[in-house]
């Protein structure tokens, strides 16, 4: 338990953990579609591991980590409060998780409504006129 190998030190040539969809369109040699000079000579040397190895490795890594769900986390200025599980469930709903940012407004009414309402809630909580939800974190003010 005192160390966990790196994923690169696991596996064997030819092992894999994911298959691509069956190829159902006619194909051509790659260099007929894109000139050789644009193509990669060697595939990126990513790991060659099976699904069980991926699962065990990242499960072991998670066991070497501490979160709010593990125990008390009184880290000042970071507000490590409990994160309700329903938040994860709603954020995972396909109608939120699987929508494209450039999708037409008429096809994302629920998303824009959510943002519109949230802006109002946050403006009320902060006592502000309007709120932009765009910034990621840190200070754009």
């Amino acid at each position: 338990m005192s160390t966990e190998k790196l994923i690169f030190e696991m596996g064997a040539p030819g092992r894999r953990a994911a298959l691509l969809p069956a190829m159902d369109v006619p194909t051509k040699p790659l260099d007929e579609l894109v000139p050789q000079e644009f193509l990669r000579a060697e595939p990126a040397p990513l790991p060659e591991v099976s699904e069980i190895e991926v699962v065990r490795h990242f499960t072991h890594l998670s066991q070497r980590n501490f979160g709010v769900d593990s125990g008390f986390y009184p880290l000042g200025s970071c507000t490590m409060k409990y994160n309700p599980k329903i938040n994860e469930e709603t954020a995972g709903m396909p109608g939120f998780a699987r929508i494209h940012p450039l999708e037409h407004e008429s096809m994302t009414q629920g998303a824009i409504q959510l943002l519109y309402d949230l802006e109002g809630y946050l403006a009320e909580i902060a006592g502000m006129e309007r709120v932009t939800l765009q910034p990621a974190a840190g200070a754009h003010g």
């Binding site: 690169f8 092992r15 190829m23 769900d69 809630y121």
Partner: protein
């Protein structure tokens, strides 16, 4: 539901322990003048079943990719995510941890990020990568800031085929920070090397292009590299479609100094564009100037190999006024998802991913451009996105496609009016032959009515 576990009785007991008779006693430092003397004007609380129903109702008003066939890319790409990725990344020890300031209890996250940094280097063929940034657009900004240096002044040349949102973001920072940003025009859908050469000045600190570019075309990266380095500027390559690295030459192969990429599609939910994942890699000369966080390998007091945050030139505790970046949060969780995704895809799978996108997109392009009035806008090679000249306004076409449950190509006239009626179609491994045929049939029907 406020998730406060203590009961009123328990809170009374706690109040007694601190010598207060009510919560109000603890709030006395807040002057009356600034008190809110009414309840917040928000909807009343909801129990979980009601809340779930409400949220599902809103979610169902959106066209999600499980129910609609989409050919939209333009910076955000739909790729299949193997089930192991969400299953593992949602483990709460990852999900509910904070920045690994206490490495003894954060080895899991730190090692995963070290693996992530390695994989970013493997994909891009660069020497070093950081632990991630907010998104591709802010990664480009950080790249420009790094190239411009602490003075914050200088000239940055940007291809007109860099994602328009990225250009806008960069412009915002350029204005605030005081460097100039000039746009280099296009020729046959790619950055004009001649125009770039003419625009270079001794003050030019960086040249930024995107590969494949926003219009889907493959840039003459070697030509741009030659001119950029001849002018002693940093060559920054932006990538919005990382799947392209499965088959296309890596930036490190053609002399990039800095790579700034969007990694959202590497195992993370599209989520209306965010949170996203900024990949950032550079040549080793930049090692001590990299923005954001870095994880390094070291030894612990027991002589074991272990991982720790290192070289934190931008952190809170150091050189407050000298920091050039305010980035101190990163996207660790998304980076972990990307790591699991790339491990699951693996060397072979990731290459096949690139091949499938490329093959399917070329098949679709041939089929669409066989329709009367539709033709390729450029002659340049492409990866999984291509621009098509259309015989009718793209929005008019797309409105009709939407009625059939299809999201058509991105309407380029919004950002590139000079291109006329042009649509940018994206076809990844998630679009089947059936999807493509349905699109072609629908376009044919709409165009035929005109």
């Amino acid at each position: 539901m406020s998730y406060v576990p203590n009961t009123t009785d328990e809170q009374q007991e706690m109040l007694r322990a601190v010598g207060a008779s009510s919560i109000e006693d603890l709030l006395t430092p807040i002057p009356e003048a600034v008190r809110l003397k009414r309840p917040l004007n928000l909807p009343e609380s909801l129990a979980e079943p009601d809340l779930k129903r409400l949220m599902l109702g809103m979610a169902e008003q959106n066209a999600d990719l499980d129910h609609y066939v989409s050919f939209l890319g333009a910076g955000t790409y739909d790729h299949f995510v193997p089930s192991v990725v969400p299953a593992l990344v949602k483990r709460s020890e990852f999900l509910t941890s904070y920045t690994p300031y206490q490495p003894e209890v954060s080895q899991g996250m730190l090692q995963a990020i070290y693996e992530y940094q390695t994989m970013v280097c493997q994909l891009t063929n660069m020497d070093v990568a950081n632990a991630s940034l907010y998104d591709g657009s802010t990664a480009v900004v950080e790249g420009a800031l790094m190239a411009v240096g602490p003075s914050g002044r200088g000239d940055v040349l940007v291809s007109r085929a860099l994602d328009p949102q990225y250009r806008a973001t960069l412009q915002t920072y350029a204005t605030a920070r005081g460097f100039t940003m000039r746009e280099i025009g296009l020729e046959d859908g790619v950055t004009s090397v001649a125009e770039l050469e003419a625009a270079m000045t001794p003050d030019t600190k960086a040249v930024i292009i995107q590969q494949p570019n926003f219009l889907g075309a493959l840039e003459d990266v070697r030509g741009v590299e030659r001119v950029t380095h001849a002018g002693k500027a940093a060559f920054i390559v932006a990538i919005t479609e990382p799947a392209s690295l499965g088959v296309l030459a890596a930036p490190g192969d053609y002399g990039a100094d800095i790579v700034a990429a969007e990694g959202l599609s590497l195992g993370n939910p599209m989520g209306y564009g965010g949170p996203a994942l900024g990949l950032f890699a550079a040549r080793k000369d930049f090692l001590r100037r990299l923005p954001g966080r870095l994880v390094g390998k070291t030894l612990d007091s027991r002589g074991q190999e272990a991982y720790v945050l290192t070289l934190q030139t931008r952190e809170q505790q150091i050189r407050r006024e000298r920091a050039t970046s305010n980035i101190c949060t990163n996207q660790s969780l998304l980076a972990v998802a990307a790591t699991i995704y790339l491990a699951a895809m693996g060397k072979q799978g990731f290459r096949e991913l690139g091949e499938q996108c490329l093959q399917r997109a070329h098949f679709a392009q041939e089929r669409i451009c066989s329709l009367p009035g539709f033709e390729p806008l450029f002659t340049r090679p492409f990866f999984d996105e291509f621009a098509v000249r259309c015989p009718l306004p793209v929005e008019q076409l797309n409105a009709r496609l939407r009625d059939q449950g299809i999201s058509g190509g991105y309407d380029l006239s919004r950002d590139y009016p000079e291109l006329g009626n042009a649509a940018l179609f994206c076809v990844t491994e998630t679009r089947t032959r059936e999807d493509i045929e349905a699109l072609v049939a629908a376009i044919e029907e709409v165009a035929g009515e005109d």
